[in-house]
Each structure stands twice: as C-alpha cells, then as structure tokens.
C-alpha cells in the first residue's frame, strides 16, 4: 500500500468518479505502471480508453507528472512510488 495524491487535468477529470480533479488514495501497488493499471480499474468511471488503452501505460496525449516533473525523467512506468507522491495525469489540449 502506498498513499499517493492523484490529479486529473486537461479534461480527464470528466471521466473520474465524481468528476473529481484531485483524489488521495491508498493503492496496493509499487510502481507507477502498476498505479496506472489500478487507477484505470478503480478511479475511472467511464470511457476507460480515454485514460489508458492497455495495462500499465496511459493513452497517447496524456502527460504523466511525478511531483510536477515529467515521468520520462523519473523512469516512466518503472518509477517506484514514495508515500505522499503527487501523480498528475494531464491530457494535452488542442483547441484554440
């Protein structure tokens, strides 16, 4: 179990249960990849493919941030979560 703060931005809040932008969860996972699988199953209420098409990674166009830093700099799915981590899922926007 690891306690993490989740955030959904760029419209992803619309598919989260209760349309919440921020959630605090205790997730039975170790890595960020496992967290994504867990979030898809437990926090997303509809249109699951808008969040992640397959297990362990987000769909194209979703930026994952660990404590305000691009997950690419943190090992992506292999990143080992620390208690209190702030994980944000931000969908890129295209409108103008």
């Amino acid at each position: 179990m690891v306690q993490v703060k989740l955030e959904f931005g760029g419209g992803l809040d619309a598919i989260v249960a209760d349309r919440t932008k921020r959630l605090q969860v205790d997730a039975p996972v170790r890595t960020l990849g496992e967290l994504i699988t867990w979030v898809r199953r437990n926090c997303i209420r509809e249109k699951h493919d808008m969040f992640a098409v397959s297990e362990a990674t987000v769909r194209p166009g979703v930026l994952v941030l660990v404590n305000e830093v691009d997950w690419e700099l943190e090992g992506t799915t292999r990143y080992e979560l620390q208690p209190g981590d702030h994980v944000a899922f931000i969908s890129t926007l295209h409108g103008g």
């Binding site: 760029g10 419209g11 493919d49 944000a88 931000i90 926007l93 409108g95 103008g96």
Partner: protein, 281 residues
C-alpha cells in the same frame, strides 16, 4: 509570400509616443530594442482564432515589425465571444484579412503578411522559413504536429498554447539544443475520440484570451533574446504552464529534454546534422 523590405526606423515623435510606456519598462533595452523589433523581428501566428486574435493584437501593439497570419477559415458568429479582434461586420470574411485590418488600424507601422491557406506538411516549411518564431494558435491536433515538425526542420522556436473549456496550456517548444519539441513530449497523436475541441466541448472566451496574451508575452521575450536586446529571457523553455480557470490556478511543470534518439522528427534532424558534420571537408 511577399518580401519584407527593411523599414527605416526613425525615432520620430510618433514612435516615441506610441511605444513610450513599453520603452520605459526596466530591462526593455530602450529605443535600440524598439528599433530592432520594428526592423528585424518577424513573427508567424498560425491560427487566427481565440488564441491568435489576442496574441496578434498585443504583438502588433508592441511594434513587432512583421507579423505573418496563417489561417484558411472565415469568421463565424460563434467565434466572436473569444476572437475579440473581429466584429459582427467581419462575419464571413477571411480571418487573415479581417485580423490584418484590425492590426493595421491599431499600428499602421506593422507589416502584415496574409497566408490564407491550411498549413500542411507540404507548405508549412516554406511558410514559416522567413520568420524568427512561430506561435501555434491552431485548433486541432493534426495542425499542431504539422507546425511542430516544420519548426524542428526549420529550427524555429515554437510558442504553443491550447485551450478548451476552462483549461489552458502553454509551452515553448524546440528552443535551443535541449528544449523538447512538441513531438518529443507527445510522440503519438491521440486517437480522434480523445481530441477535445472548442467546437465540441465549448470554451469560455477568457481562457484562450489569457493564453493568447501569454503567448504574445513569451514570444516578445523570445525574439528580444534572439536579437540580443533587452534583459528578459523567455522563461518557459522545457516547461509547461497549466491553467485551470475553474479554480484560477496556474502552475508550471518540468518537461523532458529534447529526445534526440526517440523523437521521430528530432532524430531525423539530428542525424542529418551528424551526417553533415561527418562529411570530409
């Protein structure tokens, strides 16, 4: 496109008056910086909508000498709430033409070039070649990848913004050797059903308004940095600004550096550079 002859800048009374409040700002670089803006700076705005309108109004106000406007659309009444350069009388007019008129009415010294075309993979590089910096003010994912790729090939920094609903995003891509391009960060275009748009999801006018004005600010700092005038630096390279208009929250997050080996476009440009360097003299 038409050639822009260098305009002779004489700091006459009208110019001093027009730009005085800007020239007074600490760190601006004085009349010399104003002259450089007028004579040497060329900014391309791709998309003359909710982002492009405010961006263009403020860049013209600041005295950027040459502004290119690219858009193939015509003004619709549903645009007016956020595309504040246009009036009811402009409905059905070409956006580039209406916006050009609005800018010239505000600052007759600014030279405007109209590109009344869809920016395509074929045309993009030619269109943006003469400019120093490009503003991505487009409204769809395909255009964003097209503009980005052309910027990488032509080595132009890209000030990119987007807005839907009450959310906005802003970043400066492809700036310097290490600043990532848009494709470095988002390598694969999202599936169509995940591409929100203002037409489908709506947008509050102020949201692209805020983002478009911020694009103009970062573009101004960026071109002054490129021309070595003024003491400000563009602050957003390698960072992404997130705006949540619902809670009036702004924050900035750090993006990965340029992905020379994995980005489909940076890899090619980088390989080409390497190959060129490896050639015997």
């Amino acid at each position: 496109m038409t050639e822009h002859p260098p305009v002779l800048f004489c700091p006459d009374r009208e110019s001093v008056e027009r730009y005085s409040r800007q020239m007074l700002v600490q760190g601006f670089g004085g009349p010399r910086a104003q002259q450089v803006l007028q004579q040497q700076v060329r900014v391309l705005i791709v998309g003359c909508g909710g982002l492009g309108c405010p961006a263009a109004l403020y860049l013209a106000g600041a005295g950027v000498g040459c502004i290119g406007l690219a858009d193939a659309d015509r003004v619709q009444r549903s645009n007016l709430h956020r595309q504040v350069a246009f009036t009811d009388a402009d409905v059905s007019a070409a956006k580039v033409t209406a916006l050009r008129a609005a800018l010239q009415a505000r600052n007759p010294r600014v030279h405007i070039t109209e590109h009344d075309v869809m920016v395509s993979a074929d045309s993009a590089r030619d269109i943006l070649r003469p400019y120093d910096v490009v503003l991505d003010c487009t409204d769809n994912a395909a255009a964003r990848y097209t503009v980005n790729d052309a910027c990488v090939w032509e080595r132009k920094p890209l000030v990119s913004a987007a807005a839907v609903g009450l959310d906005g995003q802003l970043a400066v891509y492809n700036h310097g050797r290490d600043g990532p391009c848009y494709r470095c960060v988002f390598p694969v275009c999202p599936p169509p059903e995940c591409q929100g748009s203002c037409d489908a999801d709506g947008v509050l006018g102020m949201v692209p308004g805020v983002l478009g004005v911020l694009q103009a600010l970062e573009a101004l700092k960026l071109v002054m940095e490129m021309r070595g005038v003024g003491k400000w630096r563009c602050s957003l390279t390698g960072r992404l600004l997130l705006f949540d208009g619902r809670h009036l929250e702004f924050r900035t997050v750090q993006l990965r550096p340029r992905q020379r080996h994995s980005c489909a476009v940076c890899r090619q440009v980088y390989d080409e550079e390497e190959a060129t360097r490896a050639l015997p003299l």
